[in-house]
């Protein structure tokens, strides 16, 4: 079908508000669109996760389109379906061809539809084990168990002092091994400045996506190393130590970055953010 004709299908659907009220040709075109996007995302999920459940591919065009149309209906009124206005408004404010933009937006919606579908039918949450590693890479990977803190009884004061000493020693070692990029990332995080801010990227000499990865990798490696060093301890104790080590590292980084010219802009931003949040700016 010609581009203008396909665009005309979307326009007709918007005008009549429900696919069932549109011509047969329009129904066929848009159902095929929904089905192809649905299957594309499901296949992508299979390819990336190694899942072998083939049931979702049995969904036909009618099912896929129904899932698409129902996904964002807030209520059964024109107002409740304002996602359709959003699709066309995107086209109005974009320099790209309208069909690309409308179908691009519909594809984004379809991705969420597939996520919802897979969550319900293929990967229900209750098969997620609390002991399953969060990242691939061996027995020292973090698990769900590791993420949730226990509440520490205050009577553990003496034990906490030992933890503090362990944290100081390890935190110093971690800090000494950190690259400048890692330190800048931690500095930004510790001062509440976004890792994507230009001043942070400039100070780190890095792109946004790289810096984000650097920061998270540092934290994952730090946590995994501690877990590896204390294999016989429960996850709550290991987490308690990990948090203290992170605090120690942040403290060292804040000291290090305090007088660095390349980090001056980060400190200014941190001060401005604090000023805005406290409402004390004139």
């Amino acid at each position: 079908m010609q581009t203008n004709a396909i665009l005309g299908c979307w326009i007709e659907w918007k005008r009549f508000c429900a696919l069932g009220l549109c011509s047969e040709q329009v129904q066929e075109q848009l159902r095929e669109f929904a089905c192809s996007r649905f299957r594309k995302f499901v296949r992508q999920y299979f390819d990336r996760t190694g899942c072998t459940d083939a049931r979702p591919l049995d969904h036909d065009e009618r099912d896929a389109w129904h899932l698409f149309e129902a996904h964002l209906v807030v209520k059964a009124t024109k107002r409740g379906k304002c996602y359709k206005d959003w699709l066309f408004a995107r086209a109005q404010c974009s320099n790209d061809p309208a069909l690309d933009v409308i179908q691009g937006g519909a594809t984004l919606i379809m991705r969420d539809v597939v996520r919802e579908f897979l969550k319900q039918h293929v990967q229900p949450w209750n098969v997620i084990s609390m002991d399953r590693p969060l990242v691939s890479g061996g027995d020292d990977s973090l698990t769900l168990h590791d993420l949730l803190p226990c509440v520490v009884d205050p009577s553990s004061e003496a034990a906490m002092r030992e933890y503090e000493q362990l944290a100081t020693d390890r935190g110093n070692r971690v800090f000494c091994d950190m690259t400048r990029r890692e330190r800048v990332a931690v500095l930004a995080k510790a001062t509440g400045v976004s890792l994507s801010h230009k001043a942070v990227l400039r100070a780190a000499g890095s792109r946004k996506s790289v810096l984000n990865t650097v920061y998270h990798a540092l934290m994952e490696n730090l946590a995994s190393a501690i877990k590896l060093d204390f294999p016989d301890d429960d996850s709550a104790s290991v987490l308690a130590l990990t948090l203290m080590v992170v605090d120690e590292v942040k403290g060292r980084v804040l000291e290090w970055g305090r007088d660095l010219k390349t980090c001056a802009a980060i400190w200014r931003l941190a001060d401005e953010t604090a000023c805005v949040e406290s409402g004390s700016c004139s």
Binding site: R115, L144, A159, H216, D234
Partner: protein, 250 residues
């Protein structure tokens, strides 16, 4: 070596279940992340009769008021997804406090509230990401629905908890997210992504000498020019992280 023993109370079951549900959905979401797609070779059809007036004009929408659920127009938050927001209250200066709805079906981080609504896009309200903006900016949106009185009350209770701390009603607490404590928790990634979602609206409406993200910095006179890092990805090549240069520069 073994760590000294601590007396610990474990996390409640509902927190573990909620986190497991969220992680399951997050992992699916990551697997569906699009690879960069190029434009198709369709001819420019912006002048196609019918496209221009298909979206309901924003000028015809009701004025912004507390208690509304609105869908932000795509040209104001610069993001590639639909963003529904709850308008929570009108401030004394005439601006409006609002919070975005999340894209997952479970609260992820503290300050997110399970609303109880069935509609996929309105299941979780992200009070930690609440912002205050002018009616002009927030008005660039379509009215989708209205919050009920109890919904507003619950949202404000969680918002106050985010801002001021203190305890939440226990039933309300069970509709929020587990604490975000571990530095390697994947929810940090999620929060980083969501952080910029609506903050650009708030910056645009503040009376502020310069936008934070447009700040231009001049080099110091005696400072050698900095070179930006290469397009390094961990493990991608020689000194991919610039670590050698980093270590010399510590």
């Amino acid at each position: 070596m073994k760590l000294p023993a601590l007396n610990l109370d474990p996390a409640p079951e509902w927190q573990k279940e909620r986190l497991a549900r969220w992680l399951a959905e997050w992992e699916i979401d990551r697997s569906l992340a699009d690879e960069a797609g190029g434009r198709s070779n369709v001819p420019d059809d912006r002048n196609h009769p019918g496209v221009g007036d298909m979206a309901r004009p924003l000028s015809g929408e009701p004025e912004v008021s507390a208690g509304q659920i609105r869908l932000l127009a795509p040209d104001i938050c610069g993001c590639e997804r639909l963003v529904y927001v709850a308008v929570l209250r009108r401030e004394p200066d005439g601006r409006f406090l609002f919070a975005p709805f999340g894209r997952f079906s479970e609260p992820a981080v503290p300050g997110e509230l399970l609303t109880g609504r069935d509609t996929v896009c309105l299941r979780v309200l992200c009070l930690w990401n609440a912002q205050t903006v002018s009616a002009d900016i927030l008005g660039r949106s379509w009215l989708a629905d209205e919050l009920t009185g109890p919904e507003i009350k619950e949202a404000m209770a969680v918002y106050s908890h985010v801002i001021e701390g203190g305890d939440l009603d226990s039933e309300l607490e069970k509709r929020t997210a587990p604490p975000l404590i571990h530095p390697a928790d994947p929810r940090h990634f999620y929060k980083d992504e969501e952080n910029g979602l609506v903050s650009s609206l708030a910056v645009g409406s503040l009376v502020w000498p310069e936008r934070a993200d447009e700040e231009r910095e001049l080099p110091m006179a005696a400072e050698p020019p900095e070179t930006y890092g290469s397009d390094d990805v961990p493990g991608s090549g020689e000194d991919p992280d610039g670590d050698e240069e980093d270590r010399q520069d510590r």
